[in-house]
């Protein structure tokens, strides 16, 4: 009687241990071929880890698929977040093969700490726009309305590339006739939340909680544009976000990482970036020629 019960418990414990151990085993064994120099038993385990600014979500999603199609047996893993967050992760030793930042600041932050093998390359630019919920609860019809008291404005935090670009654009607008020298200060007084990446800004506006937010043009994807209206920021005041990419030193898959960067810079990659609302570098040289 006692024996029977014990084996029953034992079996149950055994299967439980199996359930618990399976993911652990996977987690420990999967990265091993990358870490050690030994050739992996199956090449299908190669994974390029791309740390990319949140605003690259759609474009890099497409490029990752193109890459996987061109390189059977290699998969791309995207880690999307605010560039500042990714830079800190890499600084703290996160296993990244490629870093794509939405500004030069976080690129040089890692460069100064010699975290790259080779130089970084500018691969795209992006334009800022103001978005308001489709219902437009604060009745914002022009940029001047952002300074009206009571408007709930959401921006990226200052450490986030889009947050810094936004503040720069607001300062630029203050110098334009019809806005007033204190425009930026009055707009920033309406700030109700500082987000950690641009997609969170989009989310708050899309949900209708915020009256307005400043994001990249490429963030206004077809699914987002059903919920928001776009107000353009004139070119004279707009800030062009500069995206740069580099291979992280000590990358587990150096050649695969370099191939990924090459694809981003290739005509095909540039076309994809353009199709997703970013400005390819070739076109960015001619400032006015960015037609969607």
């Amino acid at each position: 009687m006692k024996r029977v019960r014990r084996t029953g418990v034992g079996r149950r414990l055994g299967s439980l241990a199996g359930v618990l151990a399976a993911p652990l085993l996977l987690a420990f064994t999967a990265p091993r071929p990358a870490a050690s120099g030994t050739p992996s038993t199956r090449s299908s385990t190669t994974t390029v880890r791309v740390f990319a600014a949140a605003s690259l979500a759609e474009a890099f999603g497409d490029i990752a698929k193109q890459y996987e199609r061109a390189h059977p047996g290699t998969s791309v893993q995207l880690n999307l977040a605010g560039s500042q967050q990714l830079a800190t992760q890499i600084e703290q030793g996160a296993a990244a093969d490629v870093f794509a930042s939405a500004d030069r600041r976080w690129m040089s932050y890692l460069e100064e700490r010699s975290r790259f093998s080779g130089a970084d390359t500018v691969f795209a630019r992006n334009r800022l726009v103001v978005i308001v919920p489709r219902t437009n609860p604060a009745r914002i019809g022009r940029l001047q309305d952002l300074a009206r008291p009571g408007v709930k404005l959401v921006l990226g935090a200052e450490a986030v590339p889009v947050g810094q670009y936004s503040r720069e654009a607001l300062r630029n607008l203050s110098r334009i006739d019809g806005f007033g020298a204190d425009y930026a200060r009055r707009v920033l007084a309406n700030l109700v939340s500082e987000e950690e990446n641009v997609k969170s800004v989009v989310g708050k506006v899309q949900l209708g909680e915020a009256d307005a937010g400043i994001v990249y043009r490429s963030d206004v994807t077809p699914s987002v544009s059903r919920y928001v209206r776009v107000l353009d920021i004139p070119d004279s005041a707009n800030v062009l976000a500069t995206y740069a990419i580099a291979v992280v030193s000590g990358a587990g898959h150096r050649s695969a990482a370099q191939e990924f960067v090459a694809l981003v810079l290739s005509p095909a990659g540039q076309r994809t970036l353009g199709a997703r609302g970013l400005i390819p570098v070739a076109a960015a040289g001619r400032r006015d020629s960015d037609t969607p």
Partner: protein, 281 residues
């Protein structure tokens, strides 16, 4: 391992048995796993840096906001949760199971989902939010919104132990009070509450600590702005992305506060608060 808790002779000393040794081993492994992160955090910061950073306006403002909001949240949880726990412990009604599950739900709900759900209800476009809007009030992006998120997430941590405390009160004492023609209110305050006090205090500690540590629902529902909605956990998140020293200092502070809260209220002599009637007296 106190043997005194179990009356009667025991066949074998458990500490020397294989079973006892295995259990102790597992416990030791878990203890090390739980302890190491704390040690890592404490080892990362020198006392000098800790003291210097305490005066940092970002740290101070987060500290102040966290203190104010979690005190409010805990007070609201106790005020609204005590009757709930009492009714759940003493009454039977149809749909009680469902209510119990609903009350416990925030404990296991991902906080981000809770924050999103709060937005759907109390956000500007939510049903309750629209009603609030008519009164000129709004929760998202306000300190009140932070308190709301904390109450939502912390309430079950008070209600569960409080309910167990009320349910554990000896029924005969309540009946005895009733035979002496004590009203239910009188019995509640003079008999039930003092007897359940240790459980209630444990619940207060748990829910206060949970409110203090609330992150996901807060950032989703209330936003993230220094001085208004950026509580300590949010400030840690922000600092982690650019200013690691501040992140460590804030984390150590949170750790110390949570530890002190759990330890302090658990060890608090209940007699200080109520005269505890003796069971069977």
């Amino acid at each position: 391992m106190s043997d005194s808790a179990i009356s009667g002779p025991r066949p074998r000393a458990s500490a020397s048995s294989t079973f006892g040794r295995l259990a102790a081993l597992a416990f030791a492994a878990l203890a090390v796993f739980l302890l190491l992160p704390f040690i890592g955090l404490l080892a990362r910061v020198s006392p000098a840096v800790l003291v210097a950073r305490l005066g940092d306006p970002a740290v101070l403002s987060a500290l102040k906001l966290s203190f104010v909001t979690s005190v409010w949240a805990t007070a609201l949880v106790v005020l609204l949760g005590t009757p709930a726990a009492y009714l759940l412990a003493t009454r039977d009604f149809t749909g009680k199971r469902l209510v119990e599950v609903l009350v416990d739900l925030p404990m296991v709900l991902p906080p981000t989902v809770a924050g999103f759900a709060l937005l759907m209800a109390f956000g500007r476009t939510g049903y309750a939010g629209r009603a609030l809007g008519l009164l000129g009030a709004s929760l998202p992006f306000t300190t009140a919104g932070v308190v709301a998120a904390q109450v939502f997430m912390a309430a079950p941590f008070f209600i569960s132990p409080a309910r167990a405390g009320f349910a554990g009160v000896d029924r005969r004492l309540v009946d005895a009070a009733a035979t002496l023609r004590a009203s239910e209110a009188f019995t509640f305050f003079r008999v039930v509450l003092p007897l359940a006090a240790p459980s209630l205090l444990a619940g207060v500690a748990m829910s206060a600590a949970r409110a203090l540590g609330e992150f996901g629902a807060t950032i989703t529902f209330a936003g993230n702005l220094a001085g208004t909605t950026r509580t300590m956990p949010l400030a840690v998140y922000v600092a982690l992305q650019s200013d690691l020293d501040t992140a460590v200092v804030l984390s150590v502070l949170l750790l110390a506060m949570s530890f002190g809260l759990l330890l302090g209220l658990r060890a608090a002599p209940v007699g200080l608060f109520w005269n505890k009637p003796r069971a069977g007296a």
